[in-house]
Amino acid sequence: MKILLFGITREITGQSRLTVPANAGITTVKALKVWLAQQYPAMQGLTSLAVAVDNEYAQDEDVLNPGHEIALIPPVSGG
């Protein structure tokens, strides 16, 4: 499963696209967040961290499908 990264999450991971190994067993947004916090403790210091699926904000219980476009959305600061 590939995850698009922007802003500070791109800097924290040092990459703009992250691959979550299949054996990590990630199937929900919540599970992805837990996995990220373990892999990249700096993520826990963020004000918030959302996950987007196919350009829409996803909820913790939403199921992640590798065929969808998945992205991390750190706190936005446009405008």
């Binding site: 802003g7 350009n55 904000y57 959305i73 446009g78």
Partner: protein, 136 residues
């Protein structure tokens, strides 16, 4: 509606789009990069967007505004890339028959844009840089 990400904000493009003979009121909001943030001098900024999602979320906001108010036209244009302080980075414009709607919708759109549209600003100071809002 006119919704896009651009390198350079063009206020005239927004106004030309919003203008309509049946609209008596146009409200435009232009957000510019200030040269100071929390007491430190900002020497440069960089705006990064998740383009496809940013457009999608701006479309959602536009749809909500059209549902809430009687509007004629609506524009949301955001700049991306490196910007100098003082540069316009966002323009939101709304035209309507009467001014209540254009003022209220314009305010709604900029408030909501700042909450939900995936665009990120990095401020560069003399000695360091920070992703705005990233940390508490």
């Amino acid at each position: 509606m006119l919704i896009k990400l651009v390198e350079h904000i063009d206020l005239n493009e927004a106004y030309a789009y919003l203008h309509a003979n049946e609209a008596g009121a146009v409200n435009l909001f232009v957000g510019t990069v200030r040269n100071h943030s929390k007491g430190k001098e900002v020497v440069r900024l960089d705006f990064e967007a998740y383009d496809a999602m940013a457009i999608r979320q701006m479309e959602h906001l536009a749809k909500q505004a059209f549902e809430k108010w009687s509007l004629v036209k609506l524009a949301i244009i955001h700049a991306v890339g490196a910007k100098d302080p003082g540069t316009p980075v966002v323009v939101i414009g709304v035209s309507s028959a009467h001014r209540d709607a254009s003022f209220e919708a314009c305010r709604y759109l900029i408030d909501e844009l700042k909450k939900t549209v995936p665009i990120w600003k990095k401020e560069f100071y003399e000695d360091n840089s920070v992703w705005v809002n990233a940390h508490p």
